[in-house]
Symmetry: C2
Subunit: 350 residues, 2 copies
DNA sequence: ATGAAAGCGCTAACAA
DNA sequence: TTGTTAGCGCTTTCAT
């Protein structure tokens, strides 16, 4: 007739206590670990625990002050290879540090993002990691700033990972990787091969990651005294299909170029297929380069020259940095380097 | 001198109550939604909430009986494209249904998996979804059975997704997809092209997914009265590197075959590169097929013939099925179909 | 319509 | 070494 008997299984610490003939605190102490308990009682308690298959309710522990800390990871789409790698880094590091790891895909919807962050605030997550570039509008800064403040107000922390920083004073940790630098180096490499008309398959015009890579493309040209033809700057998004479509159109439009630099490896993959479909040889007729160094880059044919970004490390670092701070820690802003991986898809201009 | 003043931000429902000059219950009622509250009070409370930027502690709500339900997703490695798609499906459906979504990568470590499931039991997760094939040993069944029971005992539910079922009586939901059938159809397609010596690049010999696909390979041969040469059955794992290595060795060893079927698209990608490195043309010299239909399959050159698996749908279904049940629901066991996607990497035998 | 009090499952300070 | 009591932050009777 006890509560337990009708609600089989959901045993509480009191059920265990009763069964072991001790008080709830004693059970708590036995389970808690380091605390003096006679080995006789300990045995009895443990037996009761086993018999009831008892596990303490983590939520109750949490509000009593001894919860498993949680960490949240917010991205647009876990399906993108680079995001997946970051997610992996985050998840690995979080569990290593004894944290639970919540995920949320926003599908690029700011409202969804906002709601989720609010939930995380309610969950008292130790940190919320926002991943991936976005349009850097005043509205963005404002909204994000608000999230940062409200998280900070409950002792949590906002981390911006590969996402535009907010300017001074915002309680955020930002971890970036050098998109412009990577693109600069990559395009410099292409130019070194003698190419002068390099098509750029970019992302959304207002997307920070896309912008930074485009900036690198431009800078590399200008550093060699070349003013790139604006007609060679195409915009789409970071998907494979975008690359395919843009490339096909460029060919059909009779655009002249001897090399193409894609904003991501996904874009490059689509572009490569379009090039093949047009009967063009890479790098014989046209050179091609990507960005991100996803695992598949090696298996494209020809193997793709690209820029390596330490995504997994980025994720790990985000977690470590966010979790390693004390209230006195100044706001960090890290910038990770990238490097060009030369493979077979870029050759000398013919 | 209130608690709040020194512990800025972490305001509780009582802080709000005080500030609004009402009782905590009233605040709870206002926030709770549908309950008669004078609009004057409501306004005062809402103002206090805003001023304090208050959010109710989700954990406290949970133990009081009104928590946000949670759902856990356990896989080997989020980095694998097919896993990522399942994860996406799970996450999407979970949020659609108002659930939070926890993730854990086990890196294939059973102990890690066990620990995580125990944590989820403590969290009172609504369901725990275990993803991906594994060695189907008695030890596995035993361990998993135990997890299923212990989850059930706290009102949670174990879901096996693309993972071997446990036999009757276990409180689990299992969602599978037809690995054997898909492989059968794929290999039948290859045989139809006249190939008689088809190399199979398999996974770990005791991995269920690998076994099922291998079984399909075998069955398709036998259905045509062909007894496949055991020397053509190679084992590795599901990675790109495994495919590359296996393929290279097979070529070096002078193995004779006119087509190769890889256990996954990743394996196929590695194999393709090895084929190219050996100067072999696909499908001119050798035909090649994969399994999974990851997005990149289209961009391999030639575009990869493969088996489409509805991974995202699988994830969504797992969530819907697990969450949609009542204690009376019989244990479901769903089997999703797959289909061959014919592209350019398989051609007639030369 | 609102407040006081009890309770959710746990831990910790205080006694014994 | 162990039990009693008082919280943790919230919801929900039960009164009023």
């Amino acid at each position: 007739m006890t509560r337990k008997s009708e609600d089989a299984g959901r045993s509480t610490i009191r059920d265990v206590a009763t069964r072991a003939g001790v008080s709830a605190s004693t059970v708590s102490r036995v389970l808690g670990g380091a605390y003096p308990v006679s080995s006789a009682t300990r045995t009895r308690v443990m037996r009761a625990v086993r018999e009831l298959d008892y596990v303490a309710d983590a939520r109750a522990k949490a509000i009593a002050g001894v919860g498993t800390p949680t960490l949240a990871f917010v991205l647009e789409d876990i399906t993108g290879p680079s995001f997946a790698h970051m997610a992996h880094g985050v998840e690995r590091e979080a569990t290593r540090l004894g944290h639970l790891c919540l995920v949320c895909s926003t599908e690029g919807d700011a409202r969804h993002e906002l709601e989720f962050v609010e939930m995380m605030r309610a969950q008292r997550a130790a940190a919320v990691i926002l991943v991936g570039g976005t349009a850097d509008t005043p509205e963005y800064r404002d909204r994000t700033r608000r999230m940062a403040d409200s998280l900070a107000s409950v002792g949590s922390r906002l981390v911006l990972c590969g996402r535009p920083p907010l300017g001074p004073g915002a309680p955020v940790t930002v971890i970036e990787y050098d998109n412009e630098g990577g693109a600069y180096a990559l395009v410099a490499h292409v130019l070194t091969q003698g190419h002068r008309r390099v098509l750029f398959l970019g992302g959304k015009p207002d997307h920070t990651t896309a912008q930074d890579r485009e900036r690198g493309y431009l800078a590399a040209h200008r550093a060699r005294g070349i003013e790139p033809d604006p007609a060679l700057l195409l915009h789409g998004d970071f998907t494979r299909d975008s690359g395919h479509r843009l490339m096909r159109r460029a060919i059909e439009a009779g655009l002249e170029f001897t090399a193409v630099v894609a904003a991501t490896d996904m874009v490059a993959a689509g572009a490569l297929t379009a090039l093949h479909e047009a009967g063009l040889d890479v790098p014989g007729d046209i050179s091609l380069a990507g960005y991100d160094d996803i695992p598949f880059a090696r298996d494209l044919h020809p193997a793709l020259t690209t820029v390596h970004v330490p995504y997994e490390e980025l994720g790990r670092l985000a977690v470590r940095t966010a979790l390693g701070r004390t209230p006195e820690t100044p706001d960090e802003h890290l910038l990770l380097g990238t490097h060009v991986v030369v493979r077979d898809s870029v050759g000398p201009v013919s």
